[in-house]
């Protein structure tokens, strides 16, 4: 398992070992449907807590999961800052720059932030609990062309390599006196060209070398490829998928009935 190539963490948990990657994908999609079906902060808060509980259940290393949660937290902050200016339902609590800020607006902001945070956290748990090989295999089994599957797993594999190259290039430019931490945003953007330029060329070079190496080993000679890793749907998987379908359909029905909605007329 190419553990070091992605954010995947090998663990003995049920989520890692007993649940098929297709089922995990169904769980992820269902989480997205639920996140979009409701816009009440209480519902979305419970769902976010459930995802964090799932991460704990999957025995994920929280030091690795924390950056994902922090990134998700930023969306929460942005939601609270931006949405109250647009949702002005109910009596005003206070005014900011002449705009009335209402309790409903603030709660809707929390909900929108939680919605994105929920999706980010769920995607994080999915990637940390599904090995790239199994993830690709799962997608191929549900109809993704095998070449696209390889492209996807290769892209995941290249991320840390490209990140390492970025660090080396940044060091090389720092050794010539480049200070990326100083100056205004425009000058910083201009300075970053000295890193992005070599990074782009190195990445193209890396991808080209990889493509040649794969061609040389017969990649694409046959339509389908065999796999060293086999995956199989079990009764548990079918039970979870049934639960996912019920939850997704139920959430849409509840949404149509106005349950779990704090502001009508907004997704």
């Amino acid at each position: 398992m190419p553990v070091g190539y992605s954010i995947y963490q090998e663990r003995p948990s049920t989520l890692h070992q007993r649940i098929d990657p297709r089922t995990k994908l169904a769980l992820l999609v269902t989480t997205f449907v639920l996140a979009l079906a409701y816009n009440h902060p209480a519902v979305l808060g419970v769902l976010t807590a459930a995802i964090i509980a799932a991460a704990w259940w999957a025995q994920l290393d929280f030091r690795r999961f924390l950056p994902i949660l922090l990134a998700a937290g930023w969306f929460l902050v942005l939601g609270i800052i931006i949405w109250p200016f647009y949702i002005q339902v109910g009596p005003p609590l206070f005014f900011v720059l002449g705009a009335a800020i209402t309790l409903t607006g603030l709660l809707f902001g929390v909900a929108m932030g939680l919605r994105v945070a929920l999706m980010v956290a769920a995607a994080g748990v999915w990637m940390m609990s599904t090995s790239p090989q199994k993830m690709t295999l799962g997608l191929v089994k549900i109809g993704l062309p095998s070449k696209a599957g390889v492209a996807m797993s290769t892209a995941i594999r290249l991320v840390p390599l490209i990140n390492a190259k970025r660090a080396t290039i940044a060091e090389a430019q720092r050794a010539r006196g480049l200070r990326l931490d100083t100056g205004n945003p425009v000058s910083r953007a201009r300075k970053s060209v000295s890193i992005l330029g070599p990074l782009l060329l190195s990445s193209i070079d890396l991808a080209q070398a990889l493509a040649i190496a794969m061609d040389a080993r017969g990649f694409g000679a046959r339509r389908d490829r065999t796999s060293l890793v086999e995956i199989r749907m079990t009764t548990l998987d079918w039970a979870i998928i049934t639960g996912c379908v019920v939850a997704a359909v139920g959430s849409v029905i509840l949404r149509l009935l106005g349950v779990g909605v704090i502001v009508q007329g907004y997704l």
């Binding site: 080396t168 060091e171 050794a175 006196g177 060209v193 000295s194 070599p198």
Partner: protein
């Protein structure tokens, strides 16, 4: 003579660990490099050569001990100051080249350091002249050959005028001609008074161009001395998974079997001179002169 020169790099009981790495990259390293020296840093992959060199210009800070560059601790002096004393040339020139012309690429570091425009042109010209690329200023860097790009990378560091030049595996990916070009450039820079630290796996390069060699293994310095003594210490080199140059090994075997054959031979010309001396077609002075001409 070397001992009379002032120290320019002092590494005092330095340890370094990368975050999340289980094993320290450097352990208790002590090293003094004096002005004008040419020092080869050798060792197998992961021995700690590059990590040690990155401590010289403040790209990394020691987790234990101290690195002092021209009397300034690297903990206190920032990379802006250190990069003008210690120029670091990366193994892969493509990790730094991004400009549209050779001239712009060489000027990049000078602009970062706020050098006035009027001075930049002169410094760029001087740096390109030093590497023998004075006529290439308007060329597109990515269309240059690997050897030329390596020289451009060196020029872009030289433009900053650092008295110390650290070159990380300068001959990797170069043919014999490219290797000779780059090493002769480094020799010229050394003759002009610069201190040169070469990180390399090429023991022939070490034998021919570096008078002093430092051998590293598992983050520690295990051997440090004149190249002639280091490269003929087969046992110590073997413990670091290194081998002397082939011609040195032949000479060592001949020394064991043929009475009077010199032990410390580093290059083919030295070997030929020694062979001729023993065969009677040369004299002792010729062989000795050949060895003195080497490291």
């Amino acid at each position: 003579m070397t001992l009379e020169r002032a120290p320019i790099i002092e590494v005092r009981d330095v340890g370094f660990s990368y975050p999340e790495a289980g094993v320290p990259a450097l352990r208790g390293v002590n090293l003094t490099i004096r002005e004008g020296e040419v020092v080869a840093l050798v060792g197998q992959n992961g021995a700690g050569k590059t990590t040690l060199a990155k401590l010289f210009n403040g790209l990394l800070a020691p987790t234990q001990g101290e690195v002092v560059i021209r009397g300034q601790s690297t903990r206190k002096a920032g990379i802006d100051i250190l990069s003008r004393i210690v120029g670091y040339c990366y193994q892969n020139p493509d990790h730094q080249i991004f400009s549209n012309t050779v001239r712009q690429e060489v000027a990049f570091g000078l602009k970062n350091h706020g050098v006035p425009k009027a001075e930049i042109e002169a410094k760029v010209h001087a740096a390109l002249e030093m590497v023998g690329m004075e006529g290439e200023g308007d060329r597109y860097p990515f269309l240059l050959g690997r050897g030329e790009r390596q020289k451009l990378a060196v020029a872009s560091i030289l433009a900053l005028g650092p008295p110390v030049l650290v070159v990380d595996e300068p001959t990797t990916g170069l043919d014999l001609r490219g290797t000779r070009n780059i090493m002769e450039l480094l020799s010229r820079l050394s003759e002009a008074g610069r201190t040169i630290v070469i990180i390399t796996h090429d023991m022939n390069v070490v034998a021919e161009y570096a008078p002093r060699t430092v051998v590293m293994m598992n983050g520690a310095v295990i051997l440090d001395g004149p190249t002639r003594a280091v490269l003929t210490d087969e046992r110590a080199l073997r413990s670091a998974f290194l081998k002397p140059p082939q011609i040195t090994r032949v000479a060592l075997r001949l020394h064991e079997r043929a009475e009077g054959f010199a032990r410390e031979i580093l290059t083919v010309p030295e070997f030929i001179a020694e062979f001729r001396r023993l065969a009677g077609s040369g004299d002792a002075n010729t062989a000795s002169a050949a060895r003195d001409g080497g490291s």
